[in-house]
Amino acid sequence: MLMTGADIVVETLIAQGTKIVFGYPGGQVIDLYDALYKAQDRLTHILSSHEQHACHAADGYARATGQTGVVIATSGPGATNLVTGIATAYLDSVPLVAITGNVSNALIGRDSFQECDITGITLPITKHNFFVKNIEDLQDTIEKAFEIAKSGRPGPVLIDIPKDVQNGKWEFNGSKMVQPARDRLVSAAKIDKAIEMIKEAKKPFIYIGGGANAANATNEIIAMADLIDAPIGSTLMGLSTVPSTHPRFLGMQGMHGHFASSRGMADSDLIIAVGARFSDRATGNVAKFAKKTKIIHLDVDSAEMNKNVQVDLTVCGDVKEALTRINAHLEPVQKEAWMNHIADLRAKEEALFEKANPKNLLTPFALVTEVSKFADPSTPIVTDVGQHQMWAAQYFPFQEPRTFITSGGLGTMGFGLGAAVGAAFATGKRTILFTGDGSFGMNLNELATVFAHQIPVVIVVMNNKVLGMVRQWQNLFYNQHFSNTNLDERQTDFVKIAEAFGVPGYHIRSLEEMPAVMAQAMAVSGPVLIEAAIDRDEFVLPMLPPGGSMDQIITTKGEA
């Protein structure tokens, strides 16, 4: 059937299982928006306040479900506004298809109004991108984009479609949902070698990353830990893959990781890394990382093998499948001495924690814990970037996979509210966003979107009137030169801002008033904002100084 390019785009998106797209219209996508208008009963479009946040929403949708998120923007500034969102998805391996309009083929290359080479700009931050010059390639290109986004290690794909391709006509006879390419089967020799190394280990440690979450490998990881009597630690991106309250789970690793988790890994004799990429924030000083420890690296992306850390065995392929095959050959064993050592580390961590967290103040720990009482196991927990992000990562008791949504690799301040919108639409559940006064300042215009659709997002703004993470570094490493991190001169009342957008807001000014105000706020069924006053000199602890090793870990403020 002869259809316009714009209609072909919409029909192909629907055929790929897309139920919702996020975006913002503009001159070079009017045709596409006309097609969306005609198909509105089959494909929902959510209008954002800014393309960047639409992109984060598509990203949040994908993180919460594992399905490919879709965002649409116009040419020029619309497309460039997507860049941060695409880079965020790229660094965290999120399946995303970004569709941009461009000026007609005849105007390309003439610096036309709102023309920009977005495929050139996004080249290093996409898995692949396409410029669809000819309408006959349109459907095939969109199908390919979905296949690339979902296959192997997921990631974002951008499709740039000139206006004349959108309003041209071509034959369309239906599209079928493409399946991701099957991951390569791990060789039997690698599996055998892994089994041998695991059986030899006396102090094994399972270290999980975002790839474990993406592969839905929760059960296989816990099964292995039970079989070999190993503790589990996680990168920031791996959080929520294994319940935080699981007895084998020691918490986050790395720069702000839990003491027992970081120390336990350093003391182990075998690290089984599952879908982790040994980023600098996770390892600290690579030259000193796990020098006495053997490493087995399971990952779907062979380019991650021996990239940052030299490992003893690489197992490349679907980690869920690899773990299943390894587990099948393991007999349950007990490692009493190792477990006792881990228990000692935990006890030490608890003592350090007691020392560092006074019980009579409105601490981030008290706030995160209070919020967690109102969450159920499947509640999506979204963050922005900064101190609040680390506190949420450290203290929130995650229960189910894909419930922790955070910008790990790129560390994008302003990620949160858009991502929360996406997560809320994806799950149909009330979603909690932890943000800070700095990050929230970058995305609060999305309150308009939240109000318009009455999206049930609980926005918890930790307001310390400083850019806390940078201030912490200035405190520790820059002689307390608080260069441009003091927001004191600003008198922003985030509750009033929320109210101006139509969203109710509440202040929490002290520990005493927290339970009552929190209960009141959580009783609101639609969107709601809670602004909590946090001390400006709260630190995220423990902290491994940048480029430092486990010996230099700072666990209390006194040591800093």
Partner: protein
């Protein structure tokens, strides 16, 4: 620093060369030379890249190239298992005093003089990179006015082909 050569078969689309070269820039790898040209198959081009780097860079280069969607096959061209050629055009100062020596060097290295003027002459030399390096060393004292090298092209020896190696 070591030098190694990688051959890749890429789809013959616009922008593919940019994708390949931008990967090198982005990862901080140092390209020594890069050539690209047609192959026996109209849909594919072959890129030969010479890179400076250690073992870690070598393995990352190959793996990162394999991740590029338009790159179909990647293989390291190990010196003992391949034949390689490079071409250079070298314009030299031409004086009555140096001319006989240049002509005999051209003769010994089995290259050709392809242009001649009262004050300049241009030499075409083909061979592996080491041969060209050696010739340049010899003629440098006579005065190199301008020079242009193509970068290497390489094929595996015997009945081995790029397509033997499916991505690992």
């Amino acid at each position: 620093m070591e030098r190694f050569e990688i051959a890749c078969l890429v789809e013959n689309h616009s922008g593919v060369l940019t994708r390949v070269s931008s990967m090198f820039t982005r990862r901080g790898f140092n390209i020594n030379s890069l050539t690209v040209g047609e192959t026996e198959h109209p849909g594919y081009s072959r890129i030969t890249i010479s890179v400076n780097g250690d073992e870690a860079i070598r393995s990352q280069c190959i793996k990162q190239l394999r991740k590029l969607y338009n790159v179909k096959l990647v293989k390291e061209m190990v010196p003992s298992e391949r034949v390689s050629r490079e071409l250079a055009l070298i314009k030299l100062k031409n004086t009555p005093e140096t001319r006989p020596e240049i002509v005999s060097a051209v003769d010994i290295f089995r290259c050709k003089i392809i242009d001649f003027s009262p004050n300049t002459l241009c030499v075409e030399i083909t061979g592996d990179s080491e041969k060209i390096d050696a010739f340049i060393t010899v003629v440098k004292p006579y005065g190199i006015l301008e020079m242009c090298r193509t970068g290497i092209v390489a094929l595996q020896r015997g009945c081995h082909y790029l397509s033997d190696d499916e991505p690992q």
